[in-house]
């Protein structure tokens, strides 16, 4: 054995193969291999509150929707060398603010495009969520059901049973103390606006990114009144927003709380089955598959 490995390069060659194997396995595990943990049987099982399930005579235009429970209007704004899509949404009940998993399954690397998930759920309006399935930590509560109680190292958005937003530091607040009153908990961040004040600055960025990027974020103006902003980015037509610029947009619209969701190539806004923005990862145009969406619908 010793003689065998005493020959030059034998050990190096064998160890290199093992190391490359480990390297490949970890990458596959992180990015490709699917792990289904919970299959969400049907939407009705997770909706905790009874709400009307059939809208009567909705008024639908290219950029608006209105019925007796849900009113949505979308405007496109050119600012900061970027194209920004702003949706103003009012609902009559917090149960109309929903989330859904790709393939209706909670797990790792289970993915579908935002528009595919939205179509499955008959969503009127949808955006990408927090891409929880790309990480092993970060609270996950969806439609009143807790799926992951492992605290991440950042901030989470808690949407309570009354539909009100709050931003918590996961390391300081246990999910157990939240879950009885948590309708949705999304874990990406950071929080952009809290108590009406911008809480990020020019150095606050996701993963030390200092560049403008496509963004997706959600905020609350008042009870059951929300704003969703998605920006195009990484293109010559639209640079994208910094987190500070994004936060300022929410503050200007009167949001008391706003929270940054997964962005970059994930940023997608879907309205009435059509993609509103121009998703791109900077290399190729088109939707990226994600783990989950936030949507408004029945």
């Amino acid at each position: 054995m010793i003689k065998f490995f005493s020959k030059p390069y034998r050990w190096a060659a064998i160890f290199a193969v093992l190391l490359i194997g480990m390297f490949t396995f970890v990458l596959l595990d992180a990015f490709v291999l699917q792990k289904s943990m919970v299959v969400v049987a049907s939407d009705s099982e997770t909706v905790a509150q009874e709400v009307s399930s059939t809208p009567t005579d909705p008024v639908i235009t290219e950029n608006s929707y209105a019925d007796e429970n849900i009113q949505i209007s979308i405007e496109t704004v050119q600012k900061y060398d970027s194209t920004i899509y702003v949706a103003d949404i009012q609902v009559s009940d917090p149960a109309y603010l929903k989330t859904a998993f790709a393939n209706s399954t909670y797990g790792r690397n289970i993915k579908a495009t935002t528009s595919e998930i939205a179509a499955t759920q008959n969503a009127i309006f949808a955006i990408n969520g927090d891409y929880y399935g790309f990480r092993d930590a970060g609270y996950v509560v969806r439609n009143g059901v807790a799926y992951r109680d492992t605290a991440g190292d950042g901030e989470a958005l808690v949407i309570d049973n009354d539909g009100n937003f709050s931003v918590i530091e996961e390391s300081q607040v246990s999910l157990a103390s939240l879950s009885s009153n948590a309708w949705q908990v999304l874990s990406f961040g950071p929080g952009l606006v809290e108590n009406g004040q911008v809480v990020v600055d020019s150095s606050s960025e996701v993963g030390q990114a200092k560049e403008s990027n496509p963004r997706t974020a959600i905020g609350q103006i008042s009870e059951l009144h929300y704003v969703v902003i998605v920006s195009d980015g990484r293109t010559t037509e639209s640079a994208g927003l910094s987190l500070l610029q994004l936060a300022q947009e929410f503050q200007e619209r009167g949001c008391t709380t706003a929270y940054n969701l997964d962005g970059g190539g994930s940023s997608t806004m879907v309205f009435n089955g059509a993609i509103v923005n121009n998703p791109t990862d900077g290399k190729s145009a088109g939707e990226r598959e994600v783990s989950d969406i936030v949507y408004f619908g029945y």
Partner: protein, 156 residues
Amino acid sequence: MSILDIKMNGQKNKIRKTIGVYAILSLVAIGINFIYGQFGHGVHSAAMTWMFLYPLLGGALFYFLLERLKSGMTRFAPFRFGYNSYNSGIATLTVGSFLKGILEIAGTNSPYLVLFTIIGWLFIAVGVMVFALLSVSRKKNSAPQKEAPDYHSVIE
């Protein structure tokens, strides 16, 4: 005669060659970080930025010091075992650091990363222990070694 008395042939320039290879690997690590940074949309990872320190300090500098302080060590057969083990440790830590960087930039993590750290430092510890043992034994056996037969004459 112990195994430590066995000399190895063809080891004259081994350390210098190793230092050179590690220096090149450090540059490669810097290059990989630079190229990867071009596609990271401004997202950087300290693990990837500083991964070149493993081959530079743990590799090139370590062997430079080893050559200066314990230059005769490479002549003994167990040196190959320690050398393999130590180099494997540096390689494992460097690759682990690169992997951590990839995952951090992508915004994810892996429970397996800690294995790279554990295995890497374990190999380094074994390598350093072998080098230390050789260093001590070399002092003790410095006189008889001059008369010892070379590696190939004993093995073959």
